[in-house]
């Protein structure tokens, strides 16, 4: 018994000694370890590797055990245009404080600055990724946080640029406060379950600021999407919660503030749509609540296809959009109620804040434009205004059942 205890204690002392020696490895350009890959391969699981200031020309750094990589004074890892830079295939890995530049580019492989595959509980934090093909790539991961990273690239062609933060087949990811610029899609999700995307800024990307597909139960709050080639697309998903985001200045014939396709049972609330060609475009989507959004100075506030049904637009502010609602059917399967429309010309005799005559948001001019696009040049002319007013009083060409029965008289705060 005494002997067993003795062995036990010896082992324990030995173990603490080993871990206290190995727990901290420092990589520096003129120190004992000058290569990150080397330090990673000799480290024990659970170790912390601190990398000091300098330029490290390395790629294909494979992390196969739980490690913490910390950059001090923002060391630069230069991939020299070759392959992946950091590949993580173990659980509980942390990478923070690096500047990672120049990944390889390929039409066959998705070379990324940081690739995380089949791992869980990782933290990728406070890194700057510059001139990369893909930025941070998550494949078949679970949990894990991507926070405060900055991804930027300069290839303006859609076909030859990669995505900033790319999620494929992942569970419970948290994507927070990142900035992505100049990539193909800023943030890309495919088969992501319960994703939380919060406070990111995704501007000036070649295609979508956020590209969201086959991802049920996700939330995205307080993100900003500006000047992206095609805006934001949310497709083939259920139970998506979109709140307090900003969709701004997405211009072009195929550019949308928010494109919805095959979305069901979701909420769009408190967002701001400002100066997009089309603020909200909906195709084959149903049971969406669109509530308390500010939709201001867009070309078309809402473009809703007849394949969309049972969506509710409530208490939104539609302010000086060139056109309020566009649709391709004389029937209406959606519900508009209690919105503020700046183009509303009705009155409120009983002074309850609700207009006494319904507002018809599909104008005759928007139908004229659909038939004869050249007449666009007559926008805001007196003649068109007279036509629109006449049509609103007695609708002939516009959908008879598409109206807001309780339009608000003043802007909803």
């Amino acid at each position: 018994m005494k002997q067993t205890a003795c062995i036990f204690f010896t082992v324990l002392i030995f173990m603490t000694a080993v871990s206290s020696i190995e727990a901290q490895i420092t990589v520096s350009q003129d120190g004992e370890h000058s290569s990150i890959a080397e330090a990673v391969s000799m480290a024990m699981p659970g170790d912390t590797i601190t990398v000091t200031e300098g330029i490290y020309r390395e790629h294909d750094i494979r992390i196969k055990k739980p490690l913490t990589l910390v950059g001090e004074g923002r060391p630069v890892i230069d991939g020299g245009d070759n392959g992946y830079i950091i590949l993580i295939t173990a659980d509980s890995v942390t990478v923070s404080g690096f500047e990672i530049i120049n990944t390889g580019r390929s039409y066959i492989r998705d070379y990324a600055a940081i690739m995380i595959e089949k791992a869980s509980d990782f933290v990728i934090e406070d890194n700057r990724l510059d001139n990369v093909f893909f930025g941070i790539y998550l494949a078949e991961t679970n949990r894990g946080v991507v926070r405060n990273n900055h991804v930027e690239s300069y290839d303006r062609r859609e076909a030859s640029s990669g995505n900033g933060i790319h999620l494929w087949n992942v569970k419970n990811p948290v994507i927070e406060n990142n900035r992505v610029t100049g990539m193909r899609d800023g943030i890309y999700l495919e088969f992501a379950e319960n994703a939380r995307i919060m406070g990111n800024i995704s501007n000036d990307n070649n295609r979508y600021g956020l590209h969201y597909m086959f991802s049920n139960g996700g939330v995205y709050y307080e993100n900003t999407f500006r000047r992206n080639g095609a805006g934001v697309a949310v497709m083939y998903s259920e139970n998506v919660d979109m709140k307090n985001n900003r969709f701004e200045n997405n211009w072009g014939a195929t550019s949308y503030g928010l494109l919805l396709k095959d979305i069901r049972n979701s909420t769009i609330e408190g967002n701001r749509f400002y100066r997009n060609t089309t603020a909200i475009y909906s195709e084959s989507s149903s049971n969406i609540l669109i509530r308390r959004n500010d939709v201001e100075l867009n070309g078309w506030a809402v473009n809703i296809k007849s394949s969309s049904a049972r969506n509710r637009f409530e208490e939104n502010n539609f302010i000086e959009n060139s056109f309020d609602v566009r649709t391709d059917s004389p029937r209406n399967n959606n519900h508009f109620e209690g919105n503020y429309w700046s183009a509303y010309e009705g009155y409120d005799l009983d002074r309850d804040g609700i207009g006494d005559v319904p507002y018809r948001p599909v104008s005759l001019f928007s139908i004229i434009i659909d038939r004869q696009p050249e007449s666009l040049i007559l926008m805001r002319s007196m003649f068109i205004r007279l036509l629109d007013t006449a049509e609103r009083i007695a609708p002939v060409l516009t959908p008879k059942t598409l109206f807001d029965e309780k339009p608000k008289m003043t802007r909803i705060q």
Binding site: N249, W300, P373, E374, S381
Partner: protein, 263 residues
């Protein structure tokens, strides 16, 4: 030069005594202020203001121009007896009445925009709407002058033409354009439609307003000519240039009629 300033100053004094211009400024002041109070502010107000401006500034300016010629007939004829160059006299009279009118609109609209803070917030847009109002005032006041001089004896005809021209340019013209677009819908019409719109000063001003506020919708149009025209500075510059021509032609025409007229 001395004669010119003298005439202008004299005109200003007469106008201010008449209080007519002050009333005009007051209308825009009250209008803009109430738009700001009861509307939403910002783009909403500026668009409403520009709608009113596009409709009424041309009418008021033109009527004011022709009315002046008819009312001050004796005064003009008296001045003509004096040893004053006719073109100096013309410019003196024209600038003397059009600049206060222009100032009345611009000040009347700018003051509420200023005290509600829109001038700071949407400086460029506010400036555009104010400047367009100013230019339209000059164009239509000079058109009024021309009409007044052409129908010097027949006042009813003069006023009639004024109303008809305003109705045509402000409303009917766009209806005709729309008709043409539908009649020749099979043909590529972009160039034609742009060219036709350039011939109407009210449409020019409207297009400039549209380029400022509706650019996001305009970018939704796929036609190449429109995209190039609206998508770059070309559109604004061409429209502004045409407006410049519209400014010069009626003034010059008025001068020509005034010089040759046997009063």
């Amino acid at each position: 030069m001395k004669n010119l300033t003298h005439i202008i100053k004299n005109e200003w004094r007469t106008l201010l005594r008449g209080k007519w211009v002050a009333g005009y400024a007051l209308i825009f002041l009250v209008l803009t202020d109430s738009l700001l109070r009861f509307g939403g502010g910002g783009a909403e107000t500026l668009l409403s203001l520009s709608n009113v401006m596009l409709l009424f500034v041309p009418l008021v300016s033109m009527i004011y121009g022709i009315l002046y010629i008819y009312q001050s007939r004796e005064f003009v004829e008296l001045l003509l007896i004096q040893p004053v160059n006719r073109s100096v006299l013309y410019w003196g009279l024209f600038l003397g009445i059009s600049t206060p009118l222009m100032a009345a609109f611009m000040l009347g609209a700018a003051l509420p925009l200023g005290w509600h803070g829109i001038l700071m917030l949407d400086g460029a847009s506010s400036f555009l709407v104010l400047a367009l109002g100013g230019v339209l005032t000059l164009i239509f006041a000079s058109l009024g002058f021309v009409l007044g001089l052409m129908f010097y004896e027949d006042r009813i005809k003069g006023f009639g033409f004024t109303i008809v021209i305003w109705l045509f340019l402000a409303i009917l013209y766009d209806g005709l354009v729309l008709m043409l677009v539908f009649a020749f819908g099979q043909y590529p019409l972009e160039r034609f439609v742009i060219a036709v719109s350039m011939l109407n000063p009210i449409d020019l001003a409207r297009i400039l307003v549209m380029l400022e506020f509706d650019i996001s919708a305009l970018m939704g149009y796929t036609g190449a000519v429109f995209s190039r025209f609206f998508g770059s500075a070309t559109g604004s510059l061409t429209a502004a240039g045409m407006l410049g021509i519209w400014l010069a032609v009626p003034m010059w025409w008025g001068l020509r009629v005034f010089k040759r007229k046997d009063f």
